[in-house]
């Protein structure tokens, strides 16, 4: 069965230079196991292909039932020089929650 992340998890994103970083949070251990299995660096790279020019980093945190995701080269050179309305990458977490995964 396919589900959108917005229906099973929550997320927040922010910026540091030209990197956009996201935390993805599961409500329980079972959902966390699914996120760990499905939300892979390769899958994230495809999802954010139009936004991130650099590699995707992923850090699972079992103690927080959370995945830390870093998108390199994702903010058009950084908030202070970017022409984008969302120059701080605050909405990247919403874009992540649109991802559809198999559960």
């Amino acid at each position: 069965m396919k589900r959108k992340l917005v229906d099973i998890a929550h997320a927040r994103s922010g910026d540091k230079g030209d990197r956009c970083d996201l935390g993805l949070f599961a409500p329980d251990a079972a959902t966390y196991a699914v996120l760990k299995r499905e939300v892979t660096p390769a899958r994230l790279a495809r999802h954010f292909a139009g936004m991130a020019s650099g590699p995707v980093e992923l850090y699972p945190l079992d103690n927080l039932l959370a995945l830390k995701i870093v998108l390199n080269g994702a903010l058009s050179g950084g908030a202070a020089r970017s022409l984008r309305s969302d120059n701080l990458g605050k909405c990247a977490a919403a874009a992540l929650l649109r991802m559809e995964i198999d559960i």
Binding site: V6, D7, I8, A9, H10, A11, R12, S13, G14, D15, K16, G17, D18, R19, D21, G23, F25, P27, H47, F48, A49, G50, M51, E57, Y59, L61, N63, L64, A66, K68, V70, S76, G77, G78, A79, A80, R81, L83, R84, S85, D86, K90, C91, A93, A94, A95, L97, R98
Partner: protein
Amino acid sequence: MKTVRVGAGLGFYGDSWKPVAASIERGGVQYIGSDHLAELTLAILQKDRQRDPAAGYTRDLVPMLTALWPLAQKHGVKFLLNAGGLNPEGARDALVAEFAKRGWKARIATVTGDAVIDRIDALRAAGEPLAHLDSGASIDTVRERMLFANAYLGAQPLVRALEAGADIVLTGRVADAALFLAPLIHEFGWAADDWNRLAQGLTVGHLLECSGQGSGGNFNSYLENGWESVPDLGHIGYPIAEVSPDGTAVITKAPGSGGRVDFDTVRQQLLYEVHNPHAYYSPDVVLDMGTLRLEDLGSDRVRVSGATGRPRPEKLKIVAGYDDGWAGTATIGYSWPGAMKKARATEALIRQQLAEAKLAYDEIHTEFLGFNSLLGPLADDSKLDDLNEVYLKMSVRAKDRRLVEAFPRQFPWLALSGPPTASGFSGIEAPRQLLGLWPTLVKHELIEPEVKVSLQETA
């Protein structure tokens, strides 16, 4: 057992201090740490200082402390604020003048030495290449265009200010979390190599440095108990930490305030703007979040324990900002029917005008407000045929300010001679200066001897 209560001040230049009053009045805080400096803010302050040498600190400092000081004095609360920006001494002078006018007594400390814009050549002569941290590029590529350069100082100079008896500590650039870590080191006497305790203190600082984002604000969840269920955001309580001598902390907020402190709101903030959670760098300690425990105690209380600390990094981080040209923006709206089709046609017309007028920009960026300005390439483009309205927003970047000024002038003719229903044009604001950021590293030994702490008492 003695606990120390530290509370969140502002999370950025322009944030609200109303919740800080609640933390002082009802939250039992002893210290407020207030973060006024985002990466961008020093650029704004640099422009202020170019106009007026006495400026260069964040202007919210004086009204904020004027509003809060009588309450703070009554409750014995001390402040640590990085509102000094590029001019901590100027900030102090302005505050001293205001307090003197009101006959208020306070001991105000400044921490300086973070600004290295005038020491770039000396630092290079001392063996620091100051190359770009990520790309490795030489600083020569931006040296002439540099507007500011500041090292992120750690908690120790702030501790010295508290030890000297300061009620208010004004700093320039320091690691945000140092504003909260310093009172804990001061109160508990933690050693400079007590890595696990320092890591706990750093965790506390990180949870408090973004004001309401640590207590249910900007809570990006659409599940049960998602953002809509967070109570009374209009009276949000900023996060408060009750810290024990071993560093274990309970995150909470003022009784009767809005917002929510629970496992979810705390962990969203914990990972915010963190890169590798197993190596979260600060000037004082490197934190591994992989061993942290968050226990939801209910009633807006979350216990935080188990941080692992490793020795502080060998070098301090500097972030310099340099002039990176100019940007200009114009927007124009279209209504149903065919709003999107008309906006796209207008974009094509503008690009044609630019090409014919030989106006060449370094970048042209197009967004459609109401469709993709926030989600960019990840916006859903399957429902565009029947929009009520959409705005075309075009932005350009160029080194030459005049070229940017010419951009919005390509639009007005569209009102009567372009696609139908054009409305709501705007584009007359002055071009804004863009800023490139230059992160780099420097040895502690080259910065720390220049760091000065001084104390002044108001008359």
